[in-house]
C-alpha cells in the first residue's frame, strides 16, 4: 500500500493495538498530527508539557503492562521529553517515543527547532533510529515496538524528519521482525537452574531479594507461589513493591537505604541471596563490601549485563523471571522442604519485633506516615498509587498496604521530581476502575502542576495528596543530619494557595490540618470524581527512618527513637 510517512505512523500504531498516545504537537511533527486528527482508532491525550507526556506514557505502561507511546516535536519538544525518556530507561519501562525532526535537507544547518535528537537520546534509550527514508518506516516502527517490549524492556526513540512524514512509499507491516543481532535469552540454563535449587536446599538462611524485574516479567503470581511453597522469607526493592501482598507472612518489607530494620538485617545475615530481577542498586546495597557478606548469590535476570555488575553471582542465570521461576518450582517440589527455614523465619520476625517500621504520633500535627496509612485503610486495593520523589515517596513505599504488582508506580532509578502527577494521569487512563492517587510533596508537585489542565480536559480524575511540610524534605533531612542543620535553599515556606490553584484549573482543592479533615477531603474528592489537590499540613521536621547513611553498611541504621521517656 502506497501511503505517506505520517499515515504509516498511524497505521503502525493501529497495528500494534495502541489505544492511547500521549503527546504535544509542533512544527516538525505536524504531518503526523494531521493524520491523528483524521482517525478515531486511538485517543491522543494532550499534556501541557512534553516531559509530562513521557511520564504519563510511563504511568500508562506500568499500570497496563503495554508499551507506552509518546509523541513530540523536534528541538525543545524533544529536549523537554528527555527527562521522561531517561526515567523510562532507568526503570526499564517499554516505550516507543516518536519525535519530529527538521526536513532532511535542513539537518545539520542549525535550522529552526533543530537538535541532534538521536545524539542526545543515544545514552538514555534502549535503541534509537533516525529514519531517512519512508520505505524504512514500517520496519523501524515494528522493530521499535519489538525491542521496547522484549528482553529487558526500555524506551526506543524514533526520530522522523518532516519530509519523510510527507514522502509517499510502500507500507507493509506484515513482515516479521528479523534482527540477527538481537535475540534475548528467556529460558535460562537448565543445569544452572538445577544447581541454584540445590544451593537453596543446602542453605540455612536463604532470602528472596525481589526486584522490579519480577513485575516487568509479570511473574508476581509465580513468585508468590514459589515463596509460599519454599517457606523462605523475602525482601522487596522499592521497584518491586506489591510483588508480594503486604500481609504475606513471608514478606519482611522493603530493604535498602530506607528499608526496614528486619529487611536489612535479614540481608546482612543471610547465607544465600536469591535475587530475582533485582540489580543491586547502591540505594539497596549500601556499602558493597559489607552487603550480604556471608552469602552466596543466585542472580536471575533477563539482562546479562546486570549479573555480576556489582555483586558477584555464584549462580548466574540469564532468563525471564517467569520462565525460570516456573522451572525452579518444578524442581523445588521434590528438592525443597519448607520446614527447613522455620527458625530462620523466627529470627527475621524477631528482628521485626525489635524495630518494626513505625513512627511516633504527635498531638500537635499530622504525621505524614499516618496519611499514607490512612489512604491505605480507606482505599487499599482499590487505589493505584504513584509518587513523586523525596520523603513522601519513601513513606509511601514503607507504609502503604500494597496488595498487587503494578499498584505502586514511582520513579526509582532516575528519581524524577514531577513524575507522579502525569504518571497518575496515565495510570488512570489505563485503569479507569480504580482511584488514581498521587502521593506527592510540596516541592515535587510544582514541577508538573500544569497537568491539572490535562486531567480536567480529558476527565482523568487524579487525586494529588501533598504531604506538605514546607520543605524540600529529603534534602532538608540530609542537611539536618549531615550538614549541621544548614538548611540551604530547602525552606519552601512561600507557597501558592494549592486549593485555589486546583480550583482555577477546574479541579477541587482541600486544605487539611486535622485527621478528620483529611478523611472528609479524601472521601469528598473520590465522590466528586474530578482532579483534586489535598494539601495536608504535616509535621515539618519528620525524618524518614530507618536510614542507612549513603555508603554505610546495611546493618548500621539510624533508627526511630521511641518518644515514651
Amino acid at each position: 500500500m502506497q501511503i505517506s510517512g505520517a499515515q504509516m505512523v498511524i497505521e503502525a500504531l493501529i497495528a500494534e493495538n495502541v489505544d492511547t498516545v500521549f503527546g504535544y504537537p509542533g512544527g516538525a511533527i505536524m504531518n503526523v498530527y494531521d493524520e491523528i486528527y483524521k482517525q478515531d482508532s486511538f485517543k491522543h491525550i494532550l499534556t501541557r508539557h512534553e516531559q509530562a507526556a513521557l511520564h504519563a506514557a510511563e504511568g500508562y505502561s506500568k499500570a497496563s503492562g503495554k508499551v507506552g507511546v509518546a509523541m513530540i516535536t523536534s528541538g525543545p519538544g524533544f529536549t523537554n521529553a528527555v527527562t521522561g525518556i531517561a526515567d523510562a530507561y532507568m526503570d526499564s519501562i517499554p516505550m516507543v517515543v516518536i519525535s519530529g525532526q527538521v526536513p532532511m535537507s535542513l539537518i545539520g544547518t542549525d535550522a529552526f527547532q533543530e537538535i541532534d535528537a538521536v545524539g542526545i537520546s543515544r545514552s538514555c534509550t534502549k535503541h534509537n533510529y533516525l529514519v531517512t527514508d519512508a520505505n524504512d518506516l514500517a520496519r523501524v516502527l515494528k522493530e521499535a515496538f519489538y525491542i521496547a517490549s522484549t528482553g529487558r524492556p526500555g524506551p526506543v526513540h524514533v526520530d522522523i524528519p518532516k519530509d519523510v512524514t510527507a514522502q509517499i512509499a510502500e507500507f507493509d507491516y506484515s513482515k516479521p521482525v528479523s534482527l540477527e543481532t538481537y535475540k534475548p535469552n528467556t529460558k535460562g540454563n537448565t543445569r544452572q537452574i538445577k544447581k541454584a535449587v540445590e544451593a537453596i536446599s543446602k542453605a540455612k538462611r536463604p532470602l528472596f531479594y525481589l526486584g522490579g524485574g519480577v513485575i516487568n516479567s509479570n511473574a508476581s503470581k509465580e513468585v508468590r507461589e514459589f515463596v509460599k511453597m519454599t517457606g523462605i522469607p523475602a525482601v522487596e526493592t522499592f521497584m518491586a513493591r506489591g510483588t508480594l501482598s503486604y500481609d504475606d507472612p513471608l514478606l519482611i518489607s522493603m530493604l535498602g537505604m530506607h528499608g526496614s530494620y528486619a529487611a536489612n538485617m535479614a540481608m546482612s545475615e543471610t547465607d544465600l541471596v536469591i535475587a530475582l530481577g533485582a540489580r543491586f542498586d547502591d540505594r539497596v546495597t549500601g556499602k558493597l563490601s559489607e552487603f550480604a557478606k556471608n552469602a552466596d548469590v543466585i542472580h536471575v535476570d533477563i539482562d546479562p549485563a546486570s549479573i555480576s555488575k556489582l555483586v558477584n553471582a555464584n549462580f548466574p542465570i540469564v532468563g525471564d523471571i517467569k520462565v525460570v521461576v516456573n522451572a525452579m518450582i518444578e524442581l523445588a517440589k521434590s528438592m525443597l522442604n519448607p520446614n527447613n527455614y522455620k527458625s530462620w523465619v523466627d529470627t527475621v520476625n524477631n528482628f521485626d519485633k525489635l524495630h518494626p517500621l513505625s513512627y511516633n504520633e504527635d498531638t500537635e500535627s499530622i504525621k505524614p506516615q499516618w496519611v499514607v496509612e490512612r489512604i491505605g485503610e480507606i482505599l487499599g486495593d482499590s487505589a493505584n498509587i504513584t509518587t513523586d520523589v523525596g520523603q513522601h515517596q519513601m513513606w509511601s513505599a514503607q507504609f502503604y498496604p500494597f496488595t498487587r504488582a503494578r499498584q505502586f508506580i514511582s520513579s526509582g532509578g532516575l528519581g524524577t521530581m514531577g513524575f507522579g502527577f502525569p504518571a497518575a494521569i496515565g495510570v488512570k487512563r489505563a485503569d479507569m476502575e480504580r482511584v488514581s492517587i498521587n502521593i506527592t510533596g510540596d516541592g515535587s508537585i510544582l514541577m508538573n502542576i500544569q497537568e491539572l489542565m490535562t486531567a480536567v480536559e480529558k476527565k482523568l480524575p487524579v487525586i494529588n495528596v501533598i504531604l506538605n511540610n514546607n520543605f524540600l524534605g529529603m534534602v532538608r533531612q540530609w542537611q539536618t543530619l549531615f550538614y549541621d542543620k544548614r538548611h540551604s535553599e530547602t525552606d519552601l515556606s512561600v507557597q501558592p494557595d494549592f486549593v485555589k490553584v486546583a480550583e482555577s484549573f477546574g479541579g477541587v482543592g482541600y486544605r487539611v490540618s486535622t485527621k478528620e479533615e483529611f478523611d472528609k477531603a479524601l472521601k469528598d474528592a473520590i465522590e466528586k470524581n474530578v482532579v483534586a489537590i489535598i494539601d495536608v499540613k504535616v509535621h515539618r521536621m519528620e525524618n524518614v527512618l530507618p536510614m542507612v547513611p549513603a555508603g554505610g553498611s546495611l546493618f548500621n541504621m539510624m533508627l526511630l527513637e521511641n518518644k515514651e521517656k
Binding site: 538521536v118 545524539g119 543515544r122 545514552s123 534502549k126 535503541h127 533516525l130 525491542i147 534482527l179 540477527e180 543481532t181 538481537y182 539482562d303 546479562p304 549485563a305 555488575k309
Partner: protein, 156 residues
C-alpha cells in the same frame, strides 16, 4: 584496581551511528580508547572493529557486556589468546641513510614504499609493542611524520 591493556573486537551491523553507540560506552565512563580500527567484513552486512583500551578488569568486563547489549552488535571478543598486528607509515627526508632505514624496516616486516623528490615513505607491520621499539630505533633518522594504523587482532 589495576589497569591493564585490553584488546576488544566487535562485530557490528554496518549502519550509521553504530560507531558512536560503541564509543559512548567508553567515554561515558571516562575511559580512553587507545586505538580503534574499523573495516567492513567481506561479503556481509557486518563490520569489524578492534578497540585497544586500558582499564580495570571489572570495568572492561562491564563494557563488553554493555557492548553486547547494543542492538546492532553481533559479537564481542574480549581477547585473551590472540595474534595482533599494527601498521605504521613513516616519512623521512631523502637526505637520510635510506639503506639503513630500509634494512631496519625489513626487520619489522616492512620496506620503503614510496620515494619522492624530498621524502621517502616507509611502511612496517608488526605487533604494537614492536612498532613502539621500531619508532624508537628510527628516531635518529629524523622522521617527519608518523602514522600508526591502530591494532587489529584475531583470537588464535
Amino acid at each position: 584496581m589495576e589497569n591493564e591493556r585490553r584488546v576488544v573486537s566487535v562485530i557490528v551491523v554496518n549502519e550509521a551511528s553504530v560507531l558512536s553507540r560503541i564509543t559512548d560506552l567508553f567515554s561515558g565512563r571516562g575511559y580512553n580508547i587507545e586505538s580503534l580500527t574499523v573495516a567492513p567484513i567481506p561479503d556481509s552486512k557486518y563490520s569489524r572493529l578492534t578497540i585497544v583500551t586500558a582499564g580495570s578488569v571489572r570495568v572492561i568486563e562491564q563494557i563488553t557486556k554493555q557492548l553486547h547489549k547494543l542492538i546492532p552488535i553481533l559479537r564481542v571478543y574480549d581477547h585473551v589468546d590472540f595474534v595482533e598486528k599494527e601498521m605504521a607509515l613513516i616519512k623521512f627526508p631523502i637526505s637520510e641513510s635510506i639503506t639503513d632505514i630500509d634494512i631496519l624496516c625489513q626487520a619489522y616486516n616492512g620496506k620503503i614504499v614510496n620515494v619522492g623528490a624530498d621524502m621517502v615513505v616507509a611502511m612496517v607491520a608488526d605487533e604494537p609493542k614492536r612498532i613502539d621499539n621500531f619508532l624508537k630505533a628510527i628516531s635518529r633518522f629524523n622522521p617527519k611524520e608518523i602514522v600508526r594504523g591502530g591494532a587489529v587482532a584475531l583470537e588464535r
